[in-house]
Amino acid sequence: MTLALQTFSTVKDANMALQAAGTRYLGGGTLVVRAANEGDVSVSSLVRVTEPSLSAIAVSGGETRLGASVTMAAIARHPELAALAPAARAVGGPAIRNMATVGGNLFAPAPYGDFTVAMLALDAIVVTEDGQVPIQTFLAGRDASRAIVTGITFVLPRAESFRFLKVARVKPKGVSVLSIATLLQRAADGTVTSARIALGCMADRPMRARAAERALLGCRLTAEEIAPALAVAGEGTSPITDPIASAWYRNEVLPVHLGRLLLA
């Protein structure tokens, strides 16, 4: 057995080929080629698609669609996607960002997948040929997913309502201790009227901090008022333990970093 690559011009044809045992989809290669290099012999066939729409970025009003093959570098340099640039730049070094894709990031196991944390905070919709799925539903079932993701859609946040933080021990490029994305709507007096908080590395895949979101409603962003939200930030988490940090450490520092992000 060897590793064989099949190239298709349409997603439809590639989806057919992907049904065969031992077959995986090749996006930027940063996950699947790495696995093959490291001796993962469970994959014997790779499938890729050259359809140009997969690399398209469309921004119209607030509605945004990123093709699954759009790279982190393309997002980071796109003038209309400035709000997402910090999340895109959080992925790898320059070479990785030229390769790593939006679609691949959806499948990246912790401690990777920082960009998807941002997508989760934005409640993005994941698009396949079968239809559209909320990102949270998609992430829950991603291990069994067999349909090629063609893109992701979301409402582009206003810059002041969206914040992203990646915590790493090495600057400027290190693997995540954790990452946090927040989308907050606030009333004229500064109180939070809606909150979405997404966390990376606090489980095997990006997750929402629901308890902290609820506790933040009606609060102004002061150290005193956000304290109850920080106290429950770790509710429902089951962080990974890896060479970067233990689960215990990640849980300990999560409220600290969430606090810094909210007060920034």
Binding site: L5, G29, P94, P172
Partner: protein
Amino acid sequence: MAKVPVQFTLNGSEKAEFVDSGTTLLHALRDKIGDTSPKGGCHQGTCGACSVIIDGELRLSCLTLAETCNGADIRTTSGLAEAGVLHPLQRAFLDAFATQCGFCTPGMIMAAKVLLDHTANPSREEVVEALSGNICRCTGYEPIIQAVLTAARANSQNAA
């Protein structure tokens, strides 16, 4: 074992080879074409020693399949000197003692080359960011950063 044809331009020369499907560009360059300047340090996209420039963009050849590079313009450090004259980056690395064991050097130079191609006068922060995907375990980052800044100055003086 199915062989597939690959054909691309390497440092300005046409190259054509048959490789096993699934062969990485790193192995194709090193084992088939004989350009050993890209190095295999981790084969997982972490160390940057295998960095090459594909169609003007920095890529990791260890995670790129050779057969996806058909028709591409590929540049490596071995092709940087012209007619035996070192590129300003090579000169600066040499003068600034920016090499120790040398294993990270070809990748570092590729990362720096892409930066200087797009940014004539980079700040120190931009240099650090550009090199952030490349690991030097002899911990010689400071001379490397200085070498890139020196090369940028030399470039802009030549252009002036």
